[in-house]
């Protein structure tokens, strides 16, 4: 006979939830367990409770259905790679209270500058993409807003500020999403940034990016501009505190005081961890970032 007391219905419920009652009793320092104890498995901090529930609820009741009753289907196993990604994304979405802030940047000056550099880029054999400018501008913005280049400890009690600026680049590959990071973007020139992004993206397509090349980003950029779309809400990639989503620049009529002018506007979506960053900070950060993209000369200041 153990000293643990739990009624038959509590034992059945615990089994359904995958909760080890002996371990729970141990943790709570009690011999009697009730249904209430199963609702808050940790009996402690919210983060802990959330993760305990996440670990025990496999969601079988939502997904374990016979789809063939509705029409013909076929099944394929998911790759180990996508299973890990799914776990990470699920955890990020569950654990981080996220807000997405939307803004737009006038990129006519940036695009003019990029066009002017084209002959030189051709000579150097480097494709000077808009993404390289965006990464550089983000690195500069992160220097100005250190809180966006930080990570929260798991207990929520410590914020760690990073004195480096590495930018993660989300890359769409045939085997799934990969996020290699370009190191020290704030200290590198555009030519180098552009060539490093091109190199990492090419190697990512062949899964030839080492794990060391993927960790440690300050913030991630996920740019869907080459495909389309006008806005989206990316999920923060922990332990980062924000992620920048970018879609396709669009010629937009902008009132210049006298007339509407066709201006290429770039949609920007910043999802951030609201535990670390509040809305006003996010707005200020984006105003600053939009300013850098609108007038690339400001990156030098």
């Amino acid at each position: 006979m153990t000293n643990l007391v739990a009624s038959p219905s509590v034992r059945a419920q615990a089994r359904e939830q995958g909760i080890d009652l002996a371990a729970l009793a141990d943790k709570l320092g009690r011999s009697h367990l009730t249904h209430d104890d199963l609702k808050q498995p940790s009996g402690a901090g919210a983060t802990e409770a959330t993760s305990a529930i996440a670990a025990t609820d496999d969601g079988a009741r939502y997904w374990d259905i016979d789809h063939s009753q509705y029409g013909p289907v076929h099944s394929e196993p998911t790759s180990r790679f996508s299973q890990v990604a799914a776990q990470n994304l699920g955890a990020a979405n569950r654990l981080i209270p996220q807000v997405t802030h939307h803004d737009r940047a006038d990129v006519s000056a940036l695009e003019r500058f990029r066009a002017e550099l084209k002959p030189e880029a051709k000579a150097r054999g480097i494709k000077l993409t808009a993404l390289a400018f965006q990464a550089k501008a983000l690195a500069v913005a992160l220097r100005a807003f250190p809180k966006f280049n930080a990570s929260l400890s798991s207990d929520g009690k410590t914020l760690t500020f990073k004195e480096f600026v590495h930018i993660g680049i989300a890359v769409d590959t045939p085997h799934g999403l990969m996020v290699p990071a370009v190191r020290d973007v704030d200290r590198k020139g555009l030519w180098q940034i552009a060539s490093e992004i091109a190199d990492l993206a090419a190697r990512a397509q062949e899964r030839k990016v080492s794990p060391e090349e993927m960790g440690g980003a300050s913030m991630t950029i996920t740019n869907l501009g080459g495909i389309g779309g006008s806005a989206f809400t990316p999920i923060v990639n922990p332990p980062e505190v924000a992620i920048l989503g970018i879609t396709k620049a669009e010629l937009t009529p902008v009132w210049d005081g006298n007339a509407f002018q066709p201006v290429p506007m770039l949609p920007l979506d910043l999802s951030y961890d609201h535990r670390v960053i509040n809305g006003a900070e996010a707005a200020r950060f984006m105003v600053h970032f939009v300013g850098l993209l609108a007038d690339p000369r400001r990156m030098m200041i």
Binding site: M1, N3, V5, A6, S7, P8, R11, A12, R15, E16, G18, S31, H32, A60, D64
Partner: protein, 459 residues
């Protein structure tokens, strides 16, 4: 390709099998239920629990009529019309089995009459037809053990034959003093047989609390039943004039009988389904090994009830049946308890659950015992009850109830309170502070608790 396919197939329609089939159907499975009998319900309903209870009820009425004179009531000499009694018993069985048929129809359970055996881990064969299946549950039960070396004779019965009520033998010997043997002794003694019970162990109802068993032993002896414990039946001779049992041990000598009931236990029927063909692990006594989720060593194949070993009791099988259906349908279920109550429907009844004092001692579990004698129960005496006992085993540190043994009229019904109390982790005080109606036999549980707590005013 198999001839047929079953989403969920249950082999055996006893109390475990039909409960499993119905639960699975309620969970949305398409269920096939296979049994060789013409009626559902298995041994329990057709030739076990239910018919024996019908006969025990008749025996009880007979005994009370005979004791009527104690109360100034004279019913004359009771006469037994064996054919009418058998018909009444069969009528009750028929009513219940047809009720089960209706329940299975309502759940759209497909009943297949036949015997199934495994061809391999994915295929069953039922009377020449092959069946593939998603999940299979083995619930083919058990059969009475036939003692080796005994003569073939129509006067040697097993429990099934005894319940057929073929005749009332003048002298009846019962080999085996467990629950089944004692119930048969109760029935046939009331019907007028001179009954002798021969038990190998040093007490009848082996495993039950010795003190409670002592009260039952005395009551059975009072009814004219001869009980020989620590006695072995070495040999049986069949002659035209009668049967002779040669006994050794505490009782040594020859015993004449007109009929003998073999009641030395039951053996798993697992071999009949050829579990080895599916690669299912089976112990040497034909017991299929299962975990608490009733899963065998082969994924997708479950086993429940008597084929999974002791205690071979219908209520254990029923619970296992629900567990197997739920686990197979994606739920995390298990038979998450060791508390399986036992009841001997003798006169008086003997019922126990959880630890006896002897088991607690043998397992080195700290325990104390308290009890309440039914001689001090107003309800018991006013209802014509004789000696009885409510005995509780509890933990001295936590005062939690660990076990209960009851002997007396309706002890089987009273046991449920103790089972619930142990499952809920109730203490003696929980029992004592729960108000029990007066006068009832159930008060004896609260009184026993109060006795240990020093708050009893009824003794």
């Amino acid at each position: 390709m198999a001839d047929n396919h079953a989403d969920f197939i249950v082999l055996g329609a006893g109390p475990g099998g039909y409960a499993c089939a119905f639960r699975a159907a309620d969970l949305g499975r398409k269920v096939v239920l296979v049994d060789p009998r013409a009626t559902l319900g298995g041994v329990c309903l057709n030739e076990g629990c239910i018919p024996s209870k019908a006969l025990l009820h008749a025996a009880q009425v007979l005994r009370e009529a005979r004791h009527g004179s104690d109360w100034g009531l004279d019913f004359g000499t009771a006469k037994v019309d064996l054919d009418a009694l058998r018909a009444k018993k069969n009528g009750i069985v028929g009513q219940l089995t047809s009720g089960l048929s209706a329940l299975s129809k309502r759940r759209k359970v497909q009943v297949v009459r036949g015997s199934a055996r495994f061809v391999d881990a994915q295929t069953l064969e039922i009377d020449g037809q092959t069946w593939s299946f998603e999940h299979a549950v083995i619930a083919v039960g058990s059969a009475p053990i036939q003692l080796p070396g005994w003569p073939e004779d129509k006067r040697i019965w097993d429990s099934t034959a005894a319940l057929e009520l073929r005749s009332i033998p003048k002298r009846l010997a019962i080999v085996g003093g467990g629950i089944i043997g004692l119930e048969m002794a109760t029935v046939y003694a009331a019907l007028g047989s001179e009954v002798t019970v021969i038990e190998l162990a040093d007490q009848i109802a082996p495993g039950a609390d010795a003190e409670a068993v002592g009260i039952l032993h005395a009551a059975l002896a009072q009814e004219g039943i001869t009980l020989h414990t620590s006695t072995k039946t070495a040999r049986v001779e069949a002659a035209k004039s009668g049967l002779t049992l040669h006994c050794e041990g505490a009782f040594s000598g020859a015993l004449k009988a007109d009929a003998i009931i073999q009641a030395v236990g039951r053996r798993s029927n697992a071999a009949g389904v050829a579990p080895e063909a599916a690669g299912i692990a089976v112990s040497e006594r034909g017991i299929i090994e299962v975990d608490r989720s009733c899963q065998t060593s082969v994924p997708g194949i479950f086993a429940i009830g008597d084929v999974t070993g002791n205690p071979m009791l219908a209520h254990r099988a029923t619970h296992q049946g629900h567990v197997a259906a739920e686990v197979a349908s994606g739920h995390a279920a298990a038979l998450d308890t060791d508390l399986i109550p036992s009841v001997a429907y003798t006169a008086p009844e003997l019922a126990w659950v959880g630890l006896t004092a002897a088991q607690a001692k043998a397992q080195g579990i700290a325990h104390k015992v308290t009890s309440f004698p039914w001689a001090a129960s107003g309800r018991n005496l006013a209802s014509g009850g004789d000696d009885g006992l409510t005995k509780l085993v509890y933990c001295p540190d936590t005062q939690r109830l660990l076990g209960a043994s009851l002997v007396g009229n309706n002890a089987g019904e009273l046991l449920a309170e103790a089972t619930l109390a142990i499952e809920m982790g109730a203490t003696l005080q929980d029992l004592a502070l729960s108000v029990h109606a007066h006068p009832t036999l159930s008060e004896t549980l609260a009184f026993a608790a109060e006795r240990a707590l020093g708050t009893l005013t009824d003794l």
